[in-house]
């Protein structure tokens, strides 16, 4: 059994990698993860070491991406910054995915009940605020910092996750095999955990991938605005903000970190897009 299922996932993986978007997205995301894990070895310089003599130095063989306004090595700061961004994104998705699965599953399974109504009305209220704004308001209350930033973006991501999970559960619920499971007397708990959730997993995981990108974007935006991670911690959004005053004399200070944010978010977006195409049978049928 175990062998067969391992084999099946290998076949699935091979099929997935034939999708160019998934392949490209996976490469970018893996590179990011490697960068974060191996940061200590990859950094050519101490990312916190100030050297005013090298202030705003353009890219050179010693400092491949140049130095910032305090003479710190930009490349090393970008590498260490990947830990901050990925760490936040992971925390955000874990938090909002967990809450979203719980709320969305109950809401979807008991569609139309008072529970569903109540959950969806609360989500309506949260959805009034565009995500970044809701996170901003929460940070205004809690103050800045790594944990607060993660929680704020996480809470701001709960409503969209709940909606996606609810939608997935509702569409799976209509299937015959759920009816069959109910007919043979399976408990509600077992139907939800063994039949509905596994079958609704694909769109949920696809959405989670896209939300990783959104979380990276939000985290850097809020830090750029001064509400998230605080200096001197190397965070990509702060690094862009650092270069604001030197756009004329040293545009590289803002340009490189921004480029890295864009690439990271693009990686998650393309991967999510590819997964979406892959799992969405309607698109597949039409193409095939």
């Amino acid at each position: 059994m175990a062998m067969a299922s391992a084999n099946r996932s290998l076949v699935l993986l091979r099929k997935m990698l034939r999708n160019k978007s998934i392949l490209f997205g996976l490469i970018v995301v893996s590179a990011l993860v490697l960068m974060a894990v191996l940061a200590d070895r990859l950094m050519p310089h101490d990312p916190l070491k100030i050297d005013l003599e090298k202030r705003l130095q353009p890219p050179s063989s010693e400092h491949l991406l140049g130095a910032d306004s305090l003479g710190r090595d930009i490349l090393s700061r970008i590498i260490l910054g990947s830990r901050v961004s990925l760490g936040i994104a992971l925390g955000v998705v874990l938090l909002s995915l967990t809450v979203g699965i719980i709320l969305g599953t109950f809401s979807g399974y008991f569609m139309g009940s008072w529970l569903d109504e109540a959950v969806m009305r609360v989500m309506d209220i949260l959805m009034v605020f565009p995500g970044v704004l809701l996170a901003m308001v929460l940070l205004g209350v809690t103050g800045p910092g790594f944990l607060n930033l993660t929680i704020a973006i996480g809470v701001a991501s709960i409503a969209p996750f709940t909606r996606v999970v609810r939608g997935g559960v509702i569409s799976v619920k209509e299937n015959m095999y759920v009816e069959a499971a109910r007919a043979v007397g399976e408990s509600t708990q077992s139907i939800i955990l063994r039949t509905i959730l596994p079958n609704a997993l694909a769109p949920i995981l696809t959405y989670a991938t896209l939300r990783m990108g959104v979380a990276v974007l939000y985290a850097s935006t809020l830090s750029f605005l001064g509400l998230g991670i605080q200096p001197p911690n190397p965070e990509w959004g702060i690094m862009v903000s650092d270069g604001r005053e030197f756009l004329r004399v040293a545009p590289h200070v803002s340009t490189f970190p921004g480029l890295v944010i864009s690439m990271a978010v693009l990686g998650f977006n393309i991967l999510g897009d590819g997964l979406n195409d892959f799992f969405n049978p309607r698109v597949r049928e039409r193409r095939g």
Binding site: R121, D124, V128, P130, V137, V141, F224, G258, D273, R286
Partner: protein, 307 residues
């Protein structure tokens, strides 16, 4: 249609009520005593107690909420802790500025987004289509604050064609609207393409082609008209996100709008100002989504008949 409108209005009111509770609760759980902050370091214990009674903070939370709500309903958001001026004086002109920016940005987004979306959909799976999709994906991946800074570095700092900050002349609108517009154009382009591709595979489009109608008539008269319905919804939904993005863009270009006001009020912990800014944001988003939903019901006969 009337039951639909009634239900939609009721839901909006309910949501708005929820928003007021949320905003009130948010300021309740703020760590630290606001009276200490307000009274300053030299206040005596009696001063602080008097201030607490004056602000109504000695009353139970429910009473405080109702007092706050009744003031908010009269557009009285209190006095700014930073400027000691009524908050409304600051909010009103800034809201006009933000709204103006949102409109010009929406125009930019609609023109570019619809254009590239239609372009892509009508050349489906060709190289120009792939390129345009990649650019659109890149557009939603680049952080607004970075694109804004790049545009500023190029057109304002290096070339000197456009001003870097402020909102005095029409020229001041160009860079902020472009920054905000490009991002939403990318989103819109993706929706337009998806919607057009879907519609173009419909039977009536095939019929129109079979009749021998010119391709431009098929695209613009038969396909686009129907594809526009979801696109209009997206434009409406995006309005809220546009306001979120405005916070960033206003900060970069020193645009005197609600967004930059909100950031400042958060950074300086000016809570009455923050509450007011949030409420104005929420009201605008709710209003626009209500209007879009009602328009949608007018445009799409299915909704009218079903409810």
């Amino acid at each position: 249609m009337l039951p639909f409108v009634r239900r939609r209005l009721l839901l909006s009111l309910l949501t708005l009520f929820g928003v007021t509770v949320l905003v009130f609760l948010a300021t309740q759980i703020i760590p630290g005593d606001p009276t200490l902050l307000l009274a300053g370091p030299y206040a005596t214990k009696e001063d602080i107690e008097a201030l607490r009674v004056y602000l109504g903070l000695d009353k139970p939370p429910i009473v405080q909420y109702l007092m706050w709500l009744s003031r908010v309903l009269r557009a009285d958001f209190g006095t700014s802790w930073a400027t000691r001026m009524p908050v409304v004086y600051e909010i009103a002109p800034r809201w006009v500025n933000t709204f103006a920016l949102a409109i010009t940005a929406t125009l930019v987004a609609t023109v570019i987004g619809l254009g590239t979306g239609i372009f892509s959909a009508t050349r489906r799976d060709t190289i120009p289509d792939h390129l345009s999709r990649i650019v659109a994906l890149l557009g939603v991946s680049m952080p607004l604050f970075w694109t804004g800074l790049l545009l500023m570095a190029l057109f304002a700092v290096r070339l000197g064609w456009l001003p870097t900050s402020g909102n005095e002349t029409p020229l001041h609108y160009v860079l902020p609207s472009l920054t905000l517009g490009i991002y939403y154009a990318a989103l819109l382009s993706r929706t337009t393409r998806a919607s057009m591709v879907e519609i173009m595979s419909m039977d009536y489009v095939r019929t129109a082609r079979a009749k021998g109608l010119p391709e431009s008539v098929v695209i613009f008269k038969h396909a686009l008209r129907n594809a526009l319905i979801p696109v209009i919804t997206v434009i409406g939904i995006q309005f809220g996100y546009l306001l979120g993005g405005a916070v960033v863009v206003e900060t970069i270009f020193r645009w005197p709008g609600i967004g930059s006001l909100m950031i400042n009020s958060i950074l300086t912990r000016d809570f009455p100002m923050m509450q007011a800014a949030i409420m104005v944001f929420a009201l605008s988003v709710l209003f626009v989504s209500l209007v879009v939903d009602l328009l949608y019901a007018v445009v799409d006969p299915k909704i009218r008949y079903e409810t």
